[in-house]
Symmetry: D2
Subunit: 275 residues, 4 copies
């Protein structure tokens, strides 16, 4: 069928994916939500016409946004995921037996609902009894919870629209306060090709709060440019000095990948080292 | 201007790039050649409508296809690049002072001509006095040169069209013979998402020839899926055991990246470990 | 939503229409059927990725394929529509009070079913008690009905796929035999820009059967090139000599349009006059 | 080559044409100009990414914007074309032997230059000794020439950008004054599907000036919707009452087409009859 979904990755580049079936499309209070069945990626979730996740390559992003921090922390029991309504991050978090409660703070209940219905292999973690789903503004939620979490993960959309507040120094301060004294924060921080200033600013903002701030990389085929950054801020534990790794079933992450992900090509190193 | 170049990456996915100017387009004896000026990638070279290289991200591919092998070899003096008519690999090879002669065996003189004219920042190495440009069939060339090269690099197009012979076990045998007793072979070996069988076969074929065979990774934004594999076969030197690195100016490659590039996510490891 | 349906009108041209909703998509025994809700055309029906009809401009095609012949005939009582499963031609035929029975011979029951469900403003005529819906091969149907119809209308898809038999001289002979002694045949006969040979052949084939053969034109925005031909073969009545027109409610057709539609630009005249 | 020019006909529809070669592309003082060699239409001229003319179907538009008025006038000697820098209208005007001087008032000399170079079969008339090429603002030009022209033709781009002033009542008054006492005005007036209000307003404005105002139609495949309107205002001669037609060589226009072009489908008639 000649039906194509196009993501305008920039004004000068777009990716088009053949759609076999539109499983869902609608407008929530926050964004346009679409779920497509595609030949290339299986079921694919797009928010405001930006690919968020898909059955084929989601494992990369979800493993990398979670296991690095959870293995860095010696005993993560309370984990908060802000955004991530598809449930993929929660699914990975719950692979860690130490985790007693994994809270999802997602602003858009439609994303949760749609993911539960159409992306069960991703959202399955949301059904776990240790999962605590809060439909709320993550910023408000975090203000009301101080000194509570071992790990906070920001699994947000791009810094436009509903997610814009999740990329500010003000927000990072709240995150810091919501973490326990040995807590770790991690966020997806966009592309080193397209979002140089953003990455630089986040790094600078986090350095004012956390003694340990590190950038790491993974390649997500459906994100613009492929190469993707994550930024981690830690109060005590250094991700480069992890002694023992939990034995979890993964397809992209491994203890070796954990360490090599922090090895940055010079052009990426320059982003965070530049004044 | 609403002028777009589209690469059909698969039958179900395409990438479209806005074209500002068509700098060149024509048919050689081997393929369709186009050079576009784009807003996204600067000048971009496409062969048979497949993006080969571009000013913006070429450094990744060209650094990674060369420096890993050249730093693995203790004293690379004679280097052969098969394909790579844009000159980017030669440019990187010549950054190594030990190299006395770098031969380019490119079948299509039009690619060389067009790259010299429109991609000077990539093709500049071809003007070096140590560069030896041979317009010829790489397979024939290699049959006529035995026990001659320290490093052979296959910088080919995809395994369809003119490059198909460069992915066969028969060809690898010739490569082996053309290498000196401590020689190293490296080739771009496509995507771990889209070319699983190809990567597996190459690995198997090389293992029958070389005692040391290793796969490594880099992310090239303009290649399908981003993540890209290179396969290296070595007679003596192990790329994981490099003692000293030449001090060269690079943007993606570094001694640390050299090592981390060999750290494979489990799903990639499975490709080459599967029977 | 960045969801687009594309029709490859030729290998060098395509039209893309933004899709708001996929109302239906599936494969019947004969073809791929899709019903899209679009901003441009309202609900749109595509068969094998070719636009067949849509709420916005369907009136042109359906009025022009029916009223010319029905007003040319002095007393059309029995009308057969071959193809036309959307029901639009039947709806127009039934505007003529003289018509006692309008038979639809459509090979694909899915087209009828889908049109009834999603295109009620077009398919409404199918609910009329004078409408006789036969799901069958039109060629077989016509062979079994001789000397029976006043008007036969071939409202087919393009001459590829299921409709190819509806464009042959052999078929026209069957049509001739199925018509009464003063019967009239009319068919959509594609574009004078893209289907010159087809139009020429149809004209020649019909001239061997009918004493009066005439080509007429209408502009259908969603068909390639816009300008569209219809060919009419008549045993007795000349469409250029209609004495009285029934008073029917139309948006494109009128008695004046009836006559002016037969005025052909020289380049179209040349198609049917050329040897 | 997978190089495509897209015209966004509306925000919900686009047409894409495969480009074989970019013959010219640049920015003039007024607009973006591109000349593409295409498989579908031969050489094609686009201004601000809107198709203006092409070798394949230009005859329709150029014949219809000229011969209707020139045959309506009993003795057209002085003709003015405003816009029409490609020269197609001038070429047709000069087929009339009565014409002593055909003035082109085109604001953008780049359009003339580019058309002369790349579209010789269209621009050839500009080389005629009776052609008088004025690079100037048509509105200013017409203000300085009163009671001078037998026929004034406005062959403009769409009513956005440089051409917007050519669609106002104020401008039509100047046109009226620049015409002789038996002069005729004609303009391309866009699509009856997409520009209903525009057509209505032009008709109303012209009715306040000219005793005879008539709309006529032709189908131009490369214009949105195919069906296209022209509006003619005449001081004395009625285009529906032409006694003799000059014998000129045409492919779309003919004396019969002259008359049938004024036969409007009811939905078009309604546009100009509606209050």
């Amino acid at each position: 069928m000649e039906l194509w979904f196009s993501e305008n990755q920039t004004k000068d580049q777009k990716i088009s994916v053949r759609v076999l079936e539109v499983l869902y499309s609608g407008k929530s209070n926050y964004q346009e939500i679409a779920v497509y069945k595609t030949a290339q990626y299986g079921t694919l979730l797009a928010l405001d016409d930006i690919i968020q996740t898909n059955e084929k390559d989601e494992f990369i992003y979800h493993e990398m946004i979670t296991h690095v921090a959870l293995n860095t922390h010696v005993n993560p029991e309370r984990v908060l995921v802000i955004g991530g309504g598809d449930g993929g991050a929660i699914r990975e978090v719950l692979k860690h037996k130490s985790v007693k409660k994994a809270t999802l703070a997602e602003i858009d209940d439609k994303v949760v609902e749609v993911s539960k219905k159409f992306l069960p292999s991703i959202s399955c973690g949301l059904e776990d009894k240790r999962a605590d789903i809060q439909i709320c503004d993550g910023i408000k939620y975090i203000q009301e919870h101080r000194n509570e979490f071992d790990v906070i993960i920001v699994d947000s959309t791009d810094p436009i629209g509903p997610a814009v507040g999740l990329f500010s120094g003000q927000f990072y301060k709240m995150v810091y306060d919501a973490l326990k004294d040995d807590g770790i924060f991690v966020a997806q921080t966009e592309s080193p090709f397209y979002n140089v200033d953003l990455i630089k600013n986040i790094h600078r903002d986090l350095k004012e709060l956390f003694p340990i701030v590190r950038l790491y990389l993974a390649t997500v085929p459906t994100y613009p440019g492929g190469l993707w950054t994550f930024t981690l801020g830690s109060k005590i534990y250094d991700p480069l000095n992890v002694k023992s790794f939990e034995d979890i079933d993964t397809k992209y992450y491994s203890p070796e990948i954990h360490n090599s992900a922090f090895v940055l090509p010079p052009f990426v190193k320059n982003i965070i080292n530049a004044r």
